[in-house]
Amino acid sequence: MYTEKVMDHFSNPRNMGELENASGVGTVGNAKCGDIMRIFLDIDNNIVKDVRFKTFGCGAAVATSSIATELVKGKTVEDALKVTNKAVMDALDGLPKAKVHCSLLAEEAIHAALWDYAQKNNIEIEGLEPPKEDIHEHEEEDDE
């Protein structure tokens, strides 16, 4: 069901845990399946120096969290913002169709953490929107 990459990140999640004095923390939830993802960012000089995650969710949710932390680490805030769910999925060699929404969770958790960082520091990050209440993709209709 899952690719090797997904299984690797699921079984050996990178950057799992918390950051004590994070510059920004974002928590998002997904009404579709009741899952929760929290991302901690340590930002210094506009660079993501460190990152951690905690996730309550499926294998894909864990793997997307893990790879997302790798993707943003070391990037500027602006580049971190550009890590889309598509990038996350590509980095994992794809996800089953039913699991696409889990990768959105990762994208939105990063955004939420960046938003928190921006709020705390009273700055505005271009293109960053306030976190959504509930993350889910547009459902594909059962073809009729």
Binding site: C33, G34, M37, K54, F56, G57, V62
Partner: protein
């Protein structure tokens, strides 16, 4: 299935070797269509008769009350839609419970769109319906009570005899989905006043794709699948002879050894339950303690999510199942766990272990060894868990 330990017998069972052996000649040698006139088709015809007898005997029905279907789902659809259609002049009200299998629930929902009214009875925290509430739900226009024999997720066994009694007293038909109960429970359709009962072979070491509906003599039930005159004009389609033969053999084996098998299963089950609850904090048993299928263990672990748990168990070579929404691909976690009052997150973190003939005490010990660590790892990862 190599080295893996299979703990998901409620999802499906391997077909027993003796059963496959019994089926084989009907693929290549005695392959005739039972409806044919020539004598070589006698073997197919007789094989179907024998299987029908074996199945009837297992539930104390008569041979001509057994109708083969393509599985439990079709049997449920037929039973419910059939009563709806054939008894609509009497009324359009159906009573069921909130914890039925989707084959029953979605059929009821379909009927609601067709103008039928359905009452979904609540269950208590053990998953039992209230016999009082059932009585109160019966109306003038109630035509059917459909309550499952035993639940596929939490293993709770309903008070079937009482339900049958109430149905009889009120002149309402009683259907029970016995897909999970068949093979381990002693079922007597006459004693329990059951009018319709659904079965599926692949849950009792028989083949997939074959099931049956018991229809009590005298029940108005026309065909649901129309066509040829098979199954005394009530279920069209060339008979699936090898599968029917396998079903008959499997049910016979199950009932020949029922008590011994159950004893073994219950020992393993109770060991699993008590030791998991003991070893893993924040865990609870779902389903009734004693009114419970011999092979069912269902436990919720707070703060963790089921699919992740299953994958980790799988990596340790253990096959189990969960009521998590992530697993089911649906919006909500198990409707059964929600119905017994579990909040969303706890329902999410459930683990179902269903035991079967290949399981040993070592398997159970191995599970007990690896499970607590896995739960701990997932809790460490969970934003919901703060210790």
């Amino acid at each position: 299935m190599d080295q893996a330990i299979y703990f998901d017998y409620a999802a499906t069972t391997p077909t027993k070797k003796e059963v496959v052996d019994e089926m084989l000649p009907y693929f290549t040698t005695n392959f005739g269509n039972p409806s044919s006139v020539y004598s070589i088709a006698n073997k197919s015809r007789e094989a179907v008769l024998t299987a029908r007898e074996q199945i009837a005997k297992a539930i104390h029905a008569k041979d001509d009350e057994i109708f083969f279907t393509s599985g439990g789902t079709e049997a449920d659809n037929w039973a419910i839609k059939g009563v709806a259609e054939n008894y609509q002049s009497k009324g359009k009200h159906i009573i069921t419970s909130k914890i039925e299998h989707h084959a029953v629930l979605h059929t009821c929902e379909y009927l609601e769109k067709q103008g039928y009214e359905v009452t979904y009875l609540e269950v208590d925290e053990d998953g039992l319906i209230s016999v009082e509430a059932l009585k109160n739900a019966i109306r003038e226009d109630t035509i059917l009570i459909t309550i499952m024999y035993a639940n596929n997720e939490i293993g709770t066994i309903q008070p079937i005899k009482e339900i049958g009694q109430i149905a009889k007293e009120n002149g309402v038909l009683f259907h029970t989905d016995a897909v999970q109960a068949i093979g381990t429970e002693a079922i007597d359709v006459k004693e329990y006043n059951i009018d319709l009962l659904s079965m599926s072979a692949h849950k009792l070491y028989g083949p997939k794709g074959i099931g049956a509906l018991y229809i009590k003599k005298g029940t108005k039930m026309k065909a649901y699948i129309h066509g040829g005159t098979q199954e005394r004009r009530r279920r069209a389609g060339t008979e699936n002879v090898p599968a029917i033969v396998g079903f008959g053999k499997a049910i016979k084996l199950a009932y020949n050894n029922r008590e011994d098998n159950n004893k073994k299963l219950i020992t393993l089950r109770d060991k699993l339950i008590s030791e998991i609850l003991d070893k893993v904090p924040y865990s609870r048993l779902n389903g009734h303690q004693t009114k419970r299928l011999a092979n069912n263990v269902n436990i919720s672990f707070e703060f963790i999510e089921g699919e992740s748990l299953l994958i980790m168990l799988d990596m340790k070579g253990i096959c189990a199942s969960s009521g998590s929404a992530c697993t089911s691909g649906s919006l909500d976690p198990s409707h059964v766990l929600m119905a017994i009052g579990l909040p969303h997150e706890k329902a999410h973190g459930s683990l179902r272990i269903t035991l079967g003939d290949r399981n040993t005490e070592e398997d159970v010990d191995y599970l007990l060894e690896v499970l607590p660590d896995i739960v701990k790892r997932l809790r460490d990862m969970s934003p919901l868990y703060e210790d």
